[in-house]
């Protein structure tokens, strides 16, 4: 039986389409309304609520919790102070990325780590002599993400504690009568928050948020709208843009942080006080310049796209529903120089965009490459430009907030 999330009763009532999907063994909503684009628009212009409860959640506690996580996670968790959160990854000893997640630091010796896939046995095997205890508390908590420009207005009305909350910070708060944690995090690349609550409090939290939020245009959004937003935001998704090195068939299906465009996480890699799994391999990769790829954004040339489709007697398709199949990338000499793993037409950017791996030599923003489409059942290359990720990055996402707006 697929599991039900703590918000299930509310989600059922809100799902107008009866279209369901499943994620991490939970029944989740594909789209609440027949127009998934409408849900996406709400996230970009008002606010949307996404039930992200199926994430695996691990509580990491103990006097050596920091020492342990510092050695396991590739990003330096020591720079994450209590009240802060970090998007992070963990690698194997060859420097290949296993998985990613968000770590919330509650105290000097207490962390909450979320991830899309189970990892408990892996983490436990890394403990060694550290005095740390890792507990799976996946089922004990619900997480409701409130994302979009109005999310601050909605939540600060309910929980004044978050009024000035900085990007990737979190705070305890009272919401709908429940004690919750609210973080300024999310998977949409927009201004947004996530409410972490006890399982039993989930319906009350949902009700409180929608009581206030409805007037701001808050609506729930499903999987498709989330996938749209995250591509624009350049946020990688395991199983779509990369695979866990632990279970990959071969090295073609493995990626290092540099190759995934996550080199910024390794700013302190030269710090000898922080040995972490994969560090030596990653130092070698950096120093020897052996990265095979670099994850970039691609923005398809709208003129070339238009021309090639119209010349073929077609109306140029502009489909916002993400495609997660390999699409080949070529240089002007028809050499394959990369491949896209996520592709869509971005309504806010008015461009076809993709997340793609490109050979490092061609990964500089502004480089022109060609993305392969199927036009009239034939492969046709359409010009595209390498762009920085995130491709959509409004200032509000990270801007300081001072009181309710």
């Amino acid at each position: 039986m697929l599991r039900r999330t703590p918000f299930h009763d509310r989600v059922v009532a809100a799902n107008d389409t009866s279209l369901w999907s499943h994620w991490a063994g939970h029944l989740v909503v594909e789209q609440y309304q027949l127009s998934e684009k409408w849900e996406y628009v709400a996230v970009r212009t008002a606010a949307g609520a996404f039930d992200t409860s199926p994430l695996y959640k691990y509580r990491v506690v103990g006097p050596d919790a920091e020492r342990f996580l510092t050695g396991v996670l590739a990003r330096d968790v020591r720079t994450c102070r209590p009240g802060q959160a970090q998007y992070t990854i963990w690698c194997d000893e060859r420097g290949y990325v296993n998985e990613d997640g968000v770590v919330f630091r509650h105290a000097s010796d207490e962390f909450l780590l979320t991830s899309a896939a189970p990892n408990l046995s892996y983490f436990r095997h890394q403990i060694g002599r550290d005095r740390v205890e890792i507990t799976d508390i996946t089922d004990a908590l619900g997480i409701l993400a409130i994302q979009g420009p109005r999310s601050h207005a909605v939540l600060s009305a309910l929980a004044p504690e978050i009024a000035g909350l900085a990007y990737f910070h979190h705070t305890p708060a009272k919401l709908g009568g429940a004690a919750v944690t609210i973080s300024r995090t999310g998977f949409t690349g927009d201004l947004g928050y996530e409410i972490i609550c006890d399982r039993d409090d989930a319906p009350a939290v949902w009700d409180a948020v929608f009581d206030v939020g409805a007037a701001h245009g808050l609506i729930p959004f499903g999987q498709i709208a989330l996938l749209m937003a995250r591509i624009e935001a350049g946020l990688l998704l395991i199983g779509k843009d990369f695979e866990s090195s632990r279970f990959a068939d071969n090295d073609e299906h493995r990626s290092t942080p540099f190759e995934l465009g996550l080199g910024w996480m390794l700013r302190s890699i030269d710090d000898d006080s922080r040995p972490f799994i994969g560090r030596r391999a990653l130092l070698r990769e950096r120093d020897d310049g052996t990265s095979r790829w670099k994850m970039v954004g691609l923005a398809v040339d709208p003129y070339d796209h238009h021309t090639k489709f119209t010349a073929a007697g077609m109306v140029p398709p502009k489909d916002h529903v993400p495609v997660h199949e390999d699409m080949m990338v070529y240089d002007d000499d028809r050499r394959r120089v990369g491949y896209a793993t996520s592709f869509m037409y971005s309504p806010v950017l008015q461009r076809h965009i993709a997340l793609a791996r490109i050979v490092p030599a061609l990964a500089a923003p502004g480089t022109r490459v060609n993305l392969e489409f199927t036009i009239n059942h034939e492969y046709v290359q359409v010009g595209a430009e390498v762009v920085r990720t995130p491709m959509f990055a409004p200032a509000r996402t990270t801007a300081p907030m001072n009181g309710a707006r």
């Binding site: 499943h22 063994g25 896939a117 189970p118 408990l120 996946t138 279970f247």
Partner: protein, 531 residues
């Protein structure tokens, strides 16, 4: 009275390996006849309508190890090959809870995490590690083993290929392979899992058909063997053939006939005829003699070497090895006609979990204790049962609303201490039924009929000595270039023109067709004068 008809090849035995072998020989243009002792082909892969409308898979009951090449090379789809997914594994527990593994990745991980959060990603790691081992072993599985005792240039080249392959295997994968080949299933699983029910589920397949408990050294090999299968590319996944494994062997028979093979039923071979150290044909029990330059035995090694021919014609080392070759069958079948589906109280009116395997082995200790009794010549009071209600997958197996249930049962040793199977068969089946009743209250009320198949029945009906379902134990000294005997693993025999293609040859038992196929390649190469 003796008539002599001329064939290029005679295959003794219409079980799945005999049919596969005969089909390949006929496909290559040999005038081929397949002789089956019984009134139907299939050997131990048959389906019988023992009660009007109820079709029983008397012996073997599922498909996974079948070599995918055979499907394509023998054009089986054109003859009705149709594997139906068995979508789940259902493990009832002593405390009323259960483990139900289905087709959804995320749901399975949650179900495992319900029993142990630690075991969710441990399961992914286990599956990945097993797949890597399977990948490393597959070339050995799908090719005839080279002969380490033969220094001919062609053979040395094959040995060099094998050495090259082994050198190319990752050290961790090779270590896992050796741990599986030499160790116990339970030790291997302990390295991954905390949850007893998860371990018991996986350990069960390390005991199938073999006189080992999950804690016995050697059960790792059986675990690996049963992981070698696939269904539609999914490693370790199983299918139920439309119409049961009897339906499958009917497909093979049609394919063989389409290539021009003749199949003769009720034709029991008495002897393989030889002259001047080579095979010349066979003599049937009714006195008929058939002549051919190639005679292939799909029977087990004991019949192949000591009954169809005279052991005195064979080298002493081979005869000696065969004397030591272990059968000691330990499995039975108890098949039921049911008036409806059983119920499992904690799952309410859920019945989807009955569409796959029902693994009655609620703990590793339960399995091991079931084995313990067999060590001393008795059958398990609380047996391990691998059940499948096949009519939930294929409605043609039983009348609407009613069901057939196949139960593979261990442990039931062939040789009982101070009794015999004629006296004990009903008590053994009662133990099975009582065990099922204890997990599925009301089960016995559903039973319309039951078929009891003891190791003695397997021996007498299907012809497998001591009822061993694999034509001999899956023990390391009886595998690869030791199967069935050192130096006699390449499908030839000491008698020119006389070949073996049964499960007693590499790669071994299960409905794989591997021995039949590899033997046909040997025969055709010999006929063409190729190495």
């Amino acid at each position: 009275m003796s008539t002599s008809r001329q064939y290029d090849a005679i295959v003794i035995g219409g079980g799945h390996n005999g049919l596969v072998n005969g089909a390949y020989l006929a496909q290559a243009g040999l005038r081929t006849i397949i002789l089956e002792r019984r009134h139907l082909v299939g050997g131990a892969a048959i389906t019988e309508e023992l009660r009007p409308g109820f079709k029983f898979t008397t012996f073997s009951y599922a498909l996974s190890l079948l070599r995918p090449e055979i499907i394509h090379e023998l054009d089986l789809v054109a003859h009705g090959f149709m594997p139906l997914l068995m979508p789940s594994s259902f493990c009832p527990m002593e405390n009323g809870d259960s483990l139900v593994i289905g087709q959804d990745h995320g749901e399975n991980l949650q179900e495992i995490a319900r029993h142990s959060p630690h075991d969710a990603d441990a399961f992914l790691q286990y599956r990945h590690d097993i797949e890597m081992v399977v990948r490393a072993v597959k070339p050995l599985f799908d090719n005839a083993a080279p002969d380490p005792f033969d220094a001919s240039p062609d053979n040395l080249a094959e040995m060099a290929d094998l050495a090259r392959h082994l050198r190319g295997i990752d050290k961790g994968v090779l270590h896992n392979l050796v741990r599986l080949l030499t160790g116990s299933a339970s030790d291997f699983l302990d390295d991954y899992f905390e949850s007893d029910i998860v371990k018991a589920w996986l350990a069960s397949s390390g005991t199938i058909g073999t006189s080992v408990g999950p804690m016995s050294q050697g059960s790792g090999l059986v675990l690996l063997f049963h992981s070698m299968g696939e269904h539609d590319g999914h490693v370790g996944s199983w299918a139920f053939h439309k119409g049961g494994n009897g339906g499958f062997t009917q497909v093979l028979a049609r394919a063989a006939e389409a290539f021009g093979a003749e199949i003769t039923l009720d034709a029991e071979v008495e002897r393989v005829l030889t002259a001047h150290g080579r095979a010349t044909g066979v003599a049937l029990a009714d006195g008929t003699e058939l002549a051919a330059d190639v005679v292939v035995s799909a029977a087990d090694p004991r019949r192949t070497f000591t009954e169809f021919v005279d052991p005195r014609e064979l080298p002493a080392d081979l005869v000696d090895s065969l004397r030591r070759y272990r059968y000691q069958g330990t499995s039975s079948k108890v098949n039921f006609a049911l008036d409806g589906l059983p119920t499992y109280p904690s799952l309410g009116d859920r019945s989807d979990m009955f569409r796959g395997f029902m693994n009655v082995a609620p703990s590793v200790e339960y399995l091991e204790r079931a084995f313990d009794e067999s060590k001393y010549g008795w059958y398990s009071k609380r047996p391990y049962i691998d059940g499948a209600i096949q009519s939930t997958i294929d409605p043609d197996m039983a009348p609407p609303g009613q069901h057939v249930m196949s139960c593979f049962v261990q442990y039931t040793p062939y040789a009982l201490r101070s009794s015999g199977w004629a006296a004990e068969r009903d008590q053994m089946a009662d133990n099975v039924q009582d065990t099922l009743e204890s997990f599925f209250p009301g089960f016995s009320d559903l039973v319309l009929q039951r078929e009891v198949v003891t190791p003695l029945d397997i021996e007498q009906v299907a012809g497998l000595p001591e009822g061993n379902i694999f034509h001999g134990e899956f023990f390391a000294p009886q595998m690869y270039f030791f199967r069935p005997a050192p130096g006699w693993h390449r499908y030839r025999t000491p008698i020119d023109g006389y070949y073996q293609c049964g499960s007693g040859t590499h790669p071994g038992g299960c409905v794989s067709g591997g021995p039949g196929r590899l033997a046909s390649r040997r025969i055709l190469a010999d006929l063409a004068g190729r190495p």
